[in-house]
Subunit: 336 residues, 2 copies
DNA sequence: TTGTATGCGTTATCAG
DNA sequence: CTGATAACGCATACAA
């Protein structure tokens, strides 16, 4: 079938052990080295990574497990992870948990069985005990985007609370008082943090929060569409709204366009996460932009360090800053 | 370390061969079956897929190779492929070629060495000889989005030519004559096909094509931004423009917004590929929508059939239809 | 430094 | 139907 070390050994006139040593960078007589290289080229030999893995329990592969694949946030991150790890000779295996715990567990078991050397995961819930249990001490784990509260893992997240804080602060500074928020599902870490930022800044400025203006969605476009529709029926209306993730921003903008509500004259808007949006929406939308590439890169670097045996300051929580894109979707509000 | 068939055999009081047979669904004495199941549960045994692959050369894994990961089109497709193949017990391994031939070849070799059972690829170029050469007869291949012209592969594409044809036809019907097109890089199949559709419909309606209105971009947002800027300096201006992929549509809209050009009063616009856009842009953008889920699903089904030994009507070219989303970005044009 | 021999966890062959 | 055993391709302990 395919050419093996045995073939190379035969052609080179050495033993398979010598060939193996050559392949793994050990010392080999120059004379033998040449004969082996010659044989490898002549035969078109490529080492069989499966056999290697069986033998060594190392696969030079890391798993990336995310709730949903078809989502720009996940994919940008996955791409930057792949780019980074590629340099170190690692390849990645992507899995989707679809936001289901059972699926997350299953995939975790699956990749563990595949002998991946590390895993990067956006956990579906706020518990991580199953992760520890399944891949536990065997395999390094780096969480991204969300942390869990029952197990200590390395993690790379953004400063969601302050991201929301500063966004809403912009609105307050411009004179807004009736500021609505389209929040995310509270079982998700990022959603909780972002809502916390909203509450904190309102409180810091001594503003009362009208709970009728805090609508909790599920991070999907359709739901946000409905929530914004509902929101605009409040009397009096809010003068500004902060939407706390990408999909919901899409739904919100769509709804506002459909209702014919002028941005920012009738309503100031701050979206989340997607830069493209800023330019496509008219007027250019103010958005909180996450450093996606950096998230992926940092996570990959950290995981690589762990896989290489470096346990410095474990567990380390890397908290990255977001960037606020000004846009033109925020108006001055002259309070009465 | 981990528990093996040998352990199961020992505990169950049978031979490893019998355990293996049980695992593979062969006939086993009921009595033994029970003992084995008991032992498996007791020991928490899980079969080692690496060893299986080494032995059988089957990995129950398919590779998906795309030019760029961080792109909604790729990802939606990858997700639907994963969903579909998951049902059959296959998992997927995704790789990015970054639009580079050398990288495509390298990844192909890599997954071949990993013993994947099939590969789905969006080829970077219009030649596929390297694909045939590397994974050749060994492994079934299904192309998506683009076909190659020197090798016969199964493929799932959309009817790009007619997609463009019908889009531009809408403009013509509404009275437009000076219709511009932001085309894609002509070394890419889809870009060629879409431009062909434009030319064909113009010709079918007896309209001369002003080559100054046909601008060739590279499927990126930034370039399209510049091209549209250039386009709007033409004198006389076009009255309509057809933008032929997602990223370029983003750039085009961004540019038009910035220039303050009103859609559709000053310029009618048709975009490509992204449904979200339709609602977020004001007014709702007319777009050509690709059946992403279907593309992934069909490709996965076809590959599954091939992997199962079904060679019916090889090579089969599945050509899916796009959908035209009307929007409100097309105005009637009263010609002089 | 090199070769020999053994094992990684399965599957497949071949007697029984 | 079952058991013993030989691969699969590679890496490593050990002896030389």
């Amino acid at each position: 079938m395919s050419v093996t070390t045995k073939d190379v050994a035969r052609v080179a006139g050495v033993s398979v052990a010598t060939v193996s040593r050559y392949l793994n960078g050990h010392n080999v007589l120059d004379e033998n080295r040449e004969k082996i290289e010659q044989a490898i080229k002549q035969l078109g030999f490529r080492v069989n990574p499966i056999a290697q893995t069986l033998r060594t329990n190392r696969s030079m592969t890391v798993a990336v497990l995310v709730p949903t694949l078809a989502n720009i946030f996940s994919m940008s991150i996955i791409e930057s992870i792949e780019r980074c790890l590629d340099q170190y000779g690692y390849s990645i295996m992507v899995c989707g948990s679809r936001g289901e715990l059972a699926r997350e567990e299953e995939k975790l078991r699956f990749v563990r069985d595949k002998r991946v050397d590390g895993v990067i995961v956006i956990p579906v819930g706020s518990s991580g005990s199953h992760i520890a249990e399944i891949v536990g001490d065997d395999i390094p784990v780096v969480l991204i985007d969300r942390v869990v509260d029952d197990v200590r893992f390395d993690a790379v997240v953004v400063d969601n609370t302050n991201a929301a804080y500063h966004a809403v602060e912009q609105l307050i500074i411009k004179g807004h008082r009736r500021i609505a928020m389209i929040a995310g599902p509270q079982h998700i870490y990022t959603a909780r943090e972002r809502l916390k930022g909203y509450r904190r800044v309102m409180s810091d400025y001594g503003l009362a929060i009208d709970e009728d203006l805090v609508l909790v969605g599920d991070y999907t476009s359709d739901t946000a569409y409905g929530l914004v529709k509902e929101l605009m029926q409040r009397d009096p209306r809010p003068t500004a709204v902060f939407v706390s993730n990408y999909e919901m921003t899409i739904g919100a903008i769509g709804c506002l366009n459909e209702l014919g509500i002028r941005i920012p004259e009738e309503l100031s808007v701050i979206g989340f996460d997607h830069l493209d949006l800023s330019s496509v929406v008219k007027p250019p939308l103010a958005v909180v932009a996450q450093p996606r590439d950096e998230i992926g890169r940092k996570a990959a670097e950290l995981l690589y360090a762990r896989m290489s045996g470096d346990t410095t300051s474990f567990p380390s929580l890397i908290r990255l800053k977001t960037r606020f894109i000004q846009g033109s979707s925020i108006a001055e509000h002259k309070s009465g």
